[in-house]
């Protein structure tokens, strides 16, 4: 009886300790997109991406406010929010997913690991199930997640008028670069 109670107490302590360090958070992640055509180069950066990473379960979540994307040209930023993303109606893009090759990544050992991430990406109110490759870099208790992939506007019902079609690359390059710190 005593042994069992001690064992359960131990289990309780261990599990809370290990799970306490399991969650990582970022409030200032960087996501940017780039489109280059002979006519025009479009580049916009968002340095206010919120993201969670649970290293024991391999779950990963993002939240990106459209209006936090900063463009070099003010008019592009206005059109991005007004005409393409419809930010008033769909203020944010989200991703909810899972690292599928969790066993290949050792979060307690420094190094760079390849990761495969699968999940639901919601942009402009349209949710798509995607699988993308990325890297996870572990250094001194911090985790840096990076990924680069293409997004086709038509997949998310973002309408590009014929007149500007040759000004916008398809797919657009999206780069994700998030530095996580342990959650307190």
């Amino acid at each position: 009886m005593k042994k069992i109670i001690i064992a359960s107490l131990l289990l309780l302590t261990i599990s809370s300790v290990s799970f306490g360090q399991a969650k990582f958070l970022s409030r200032a992640g960087h996501i940017w997109f780039y489109s280059k055509t002979p006519v025009e180069t479009i580049e916009a950066h968002n340095y206010q991406v919120a993201s969670f990473l649970d290293v024991t379960k391999g779950t990963i979540a993002f939240e990106v406010l459209n209006k936090s994307f900063k463009f070099e040209r003010a008019l592009m930023e206005e059109h991005f929010n007004e005409n393409y993303m419809e930010s008033e109606k769909f203020p944010k893009a989200t991703f909810k997913g899972q690292i599928t090759n969790l066993k290949d990544i050792n979060f307690s050992k420094d190094g760079v690991y390849n990761a495969i991430i699968e999940g639901d990406l919601t942009i402009h109110g349209v949710t798509k199930h995607i699988t993308q490759k990325g890297t996870i870099e572990v250094t001194k208790g911090k985790i840096v997640a990076k990924s680069k992939f293409g997004i086709k506007p038509e997949d998310y019902k973002i309408e590009i008028p014929a007149l500007v079609k040759d000004k916008i690359a398809n797919p657009l390059d999206v780069t994700v670069d998030i530095t996580y710190s342990p959650m307190k």
Binding site: M1, I60, E72, A74, L75
Partner: protein
Amino acid sequence: MNQLTRFFAVIFITIPFLSIAQQDDIFGMLDSISKPETEYATATFKSSRIVTGQSVEQMKEGQLEFRIEHRFGTLNSGFYNFYGLDGGTIFLSTEYGVTDWMMIGLGRASLEKDFNGFIKLNIYRQSKGKRNFPFTITYYGATTVSSLKDDPAVKNYFSNRLGYVNQFLIARKITNSLSLQLSPIHIHRNLVPTAFDQNDLFACGVGGRYKLSKRIAITGEYYYVFRSKLNSTTFYNPLSVGIDIETGGHVFSFMLTNSIGMLENQYIAENTGRWTKGDIHLGFNISRSFTLYGKK
């Protein structure tokens, strides 16, 4: 091992997992860290003019806009004048965003050969979230200089050529499609045609736009002018309706209006056209914006 022991063992083993399960949903946690940010209303109007009058929109820092505005003659001028298309007045303007809240501009109107220099200062921005304010408020101030040849019959002072405008633009983007604006204005003219005409004139404008699609909007604008009963000429309040079409860096506006002038001292203070008599001018505004430098 008795049953009680087993019961406790199960409880102890399950409790930690239960508590984990509760705080496990990192997807639900996203909302808790999204900080309460202030969200400013953007693109209340498509252009810096509603139809002819100023809107609360202005160029952002480093953006330059070149405008060509044109009002043809009246529709009632008959086939001989091709219903007004044979004649018209033009206004050219270059406008530049010094900062996000300050724009300066220089323009030239063919009517009365007026030059006009102006400044637009954004005072408040409509916002919600952390900072909540229902309106965008902008000050517009302008000085006009007429460059007409001297009238040999009278003594000409340079100050006679000058006129001033002070205006507050108070707008609200009510929905994504509908925006309304109230625009009280004060116009001062150093020289007026006769002693009956007021040097200082007050008027109040109402205007709005409604978006039919993402890139097309209908616009309308009316100014009520507070005049004394006696004037040298009978003047009428300007009423304009228009349509805005946006394509990338251009905005095309087409309108029907009873005023031929495009500066405040003309279309508000000295408008003689009447809708009911068919003094209707077809007109257009074309603007093209350029980025001189972007913000990094």
